[in-house]
């Protein structure tokens, strides 16, 4: 198990830029949802 972790350690890591992009996309979607939600229910 220890051997397997060592072998795959560089394959399973996520690049910081990728992580940042995913977080930025999530923030964007949540922000848009908060802004646009009232418009869906406007009379």
């Amino acid at each position: 198990m220890q051997l397997a972790n060592t072998v795959f350690s560089d394959k399973t890591g996520i690049a910081f830029s990728t992580l940042l992009l995913i977080v930025a996309l999530d923030v964007l979607v949540v922000m848009l949802a908060v802004i646009l939600f009232p418009f869906l229910w406007k009379d």
């Binding site: 830029s17 418009f39 869906l40």
Partner: protein, 231 residues
């Protein structure tokens, strides 16, 4: 006639694009050869698509602010023409790819296996499918006001996803497509020759103007349809 100058300009620019684009002297790149001329069609159609989606997005915001049906109709029609341009861009890209990426020593299916994993293609397919879902969503709602409201909100989400799926994510990954992590060669004055830029920029304007013209015609047709229905 005075109001139609931009339509005439659009037609003239496209005539120029087709004639000059096919006849002009282009740089001799052994990998690309004559396929480099696809820049005037494929890339410019995608530019046109982006501009049409931007207009659709702005009209969606204007609808949410004012609730005027004209903005909803315009938003829908600009998105529709944007999708059409996207499909044409995909088609011209596929023709270009069949000469540059496909390995002639392998069977088509084996080469397709490599090409289908191309991040730019996947990103573009996601973006177009997101917009296709916009059309499906619209047609699935009967109530006119609800349809306009929900589709305007969805349009804004679709536009927000357009940039990451086409411009950001594919550039983070290794790609065969020009304009990957090394920047966009079409817009780099050091990459595209002066001759090509003479056709490239007018071609962007020409394709965009034709797209806007088609969209305005569709908007007018839709308004007439609505007026007939309300009579």
């Amino acid at each position: 006639m005075r109001k139609s100058w931009w339509k005439i300009l659009g037609v003239l620019l496209l005539v120029y694009t087709f004639i000059a684009g096919l006849l002009i002297e282009v740089p001799r790149n052994p990998q690309l050869e004559e396929t480099i001329r696809n820049l005037f069609f494929h890339v410019c159609m995608w530019f046109g698509m982006m501009i049409l989606f931007i207009v659709s997005f702005v009209r969606a915001i204007m609808y949410l602010r004012t609730s005027k049906p004209i903005h909803d109709i315009a938003s829908r029609q600009y998105a529709g023409v944007g999708i059409l341009f996207g499909l044409l861009g995909y088609l011209t890209g596929a023709i270009w790819m069949s000469y540059t990426w496909i390995d002639s020593n392998k069977s088509i299916l084996n080469s397709f296996d490599t090409v289908a994993r191309e991040p730019k293609l996947i990103g573009a397919a996601i973006a177009l499918l997101v917009y296709a879902a916009y059309l499906v969503l619209r047609d699935s709602i009967q109530d006119i006001d609800k349809k306009a409201r929900i589709s305007a909100v969805y349009n804004i989400f679709a536009f927000a996803m357009l940039f990451p799926s086409i411009w950001i994510i594919p550039r983070l990954l290794d790609s065969l497509h020009p304009g990957g992590s090394e920047g966009n060669p079409a817009l780099d004055p050091g990459s595209a020759s002066a001759n090509m830029r003479l056709v490239f920029y007018p071609a962007i304007a020409g394709w965009t103007l034709i797209g806007v013209w088609i969209a305005t015609l569709k908007i007018r047709m839709k308004i007439i349809q609505e007026q007939k229905l309300s009579q």
